[in-house]
Assembly symmetry: C2
Homo-oligomer: 208 residues x 2
């Protein structure tokens, strides 16, 4: 293992990295198996094979551990899909760019490693507003802001109307996929998200 | 109390109606307070002041009780809002009709009687696919089909493009509100749902 600067990583750092990763995996596995309320710092420590104090040294609460474990999981999924983490491409073709990102999101939502812990946390967020707001602020909203940036650039290019609020507009193509996943209201596929993007950009009413 | 035919209701029917309502209220209160997994037929019966057998005579499972309790709650909310239950108006003005129904949905989502049990059930549905599918089939999908009908009539009138799939199209204005409510990703208001309807009908791209 080498750092970005090319220097070898000292043993202590390597051990820390290994512990950090074991803690993430234990936290995600436990919340998937037992649910959020029954997941504890003690349980995460036991499963990760580290002392409780190791966790408390790095994180203030189990919500913090899970938040970082999710950020890490999302970054891994994005890297596996060949994407730069947390970037929406800007090729000049807005429809194509949005479709590519939503297809990657479909892959992530259908990935079994992602699904069980995500569902357990979303379920807790439904009845625990404080947790939900923390996850929105630290995880969801930063991702949504990337769509805001891409839509603003599309407004500059004349591809999106100037009077459209990008923060609301993005929900027309992001929320349908989210609701199908959250509530099992319909199947999820590339064809589906492609269609949603086309409808959102061109509207349901005829163009005269 | 009289029946629709105008005849007085016999005492036994009146007692049954009173029990049924007590069971609905107990079921909704328990799932809101304790969550779905800890809600039992025994608990509902005790809180409603009826025998367990009364519940088993009418319903096969706690999921069935909750499903009917929710249908009843939605009908009451629609009646309180002066709507015919489960109908989307067709005044010939598609935007106005959709905005009216979504404003009523905003009221329902913000109604405290509705919010706690709905959240508890949606949370369970996230991790319990069988329950989710039952609720979608019996409760959510019939409501969404009303939008399908309204969009088909708009297609006949030339207000929605003929090549649009109504079952997907409705998600452009239904899902953003659903996601904000489910994930606390943003505030809910009439102004918000009105904006979403306008964006969905006219699209984000400029009309040339």
């Amino acid at each position: 293992m080498v750092t970005q600067s090319g220097k070898p990583v000292p043993d202590a750092a390597r051990r820390s990295e290994k512990s950090r990763r074991a803690i993430y995996e234990a936290a995600l596995a436990l919340v998937a198996e037992a649910g959020y309320p029954k997941t504890t710092i003690e349980g995460i420590a036991a499963r990760a094979g580290v002392g409780k104090q190791t966790i408390y040294r790095w994180w203030g609460s189990k919500a913090d551990v899970l938040l970082e474990a999710f950020l890490d999981l999302s970054e891994q999924a994005a890297e596996a899909a060949g994407q730069v983490p947390y970037a929406i491409p800007d090729t000049g073709d807005l429809a194509a760019d949005l479709k590519a990102v939503l297809r990657a999101t479909v892959d992530e939502l259908l990935d079994p490693r992602f699904e069980a812990p995500s569902r357990a946390l979303a379920a807790e967020g439904l009845v625990n507003e404080q947790l939900a707001r923390e996850f929105v602020a630290k995880l969801l909203e930063p991702q949504l802001q990337l769509y805001v940036d891409r839509l603003r650039s599309a407004q500059d290019a004349g591809d999106v109307r100037a009077d459209v609020d990008p923060r609301i507009a993005l929900e027309l193509f992001v929320s349908p996929l989210a609701q199908r996943w959250l509530q099992h209201t319909g199947p999820i596929s590339y064809e589906y998200t492609d269609t949603v993007v086309d409808y959102a950009l061109h509207g349901l009413a005829p163009r005269s």
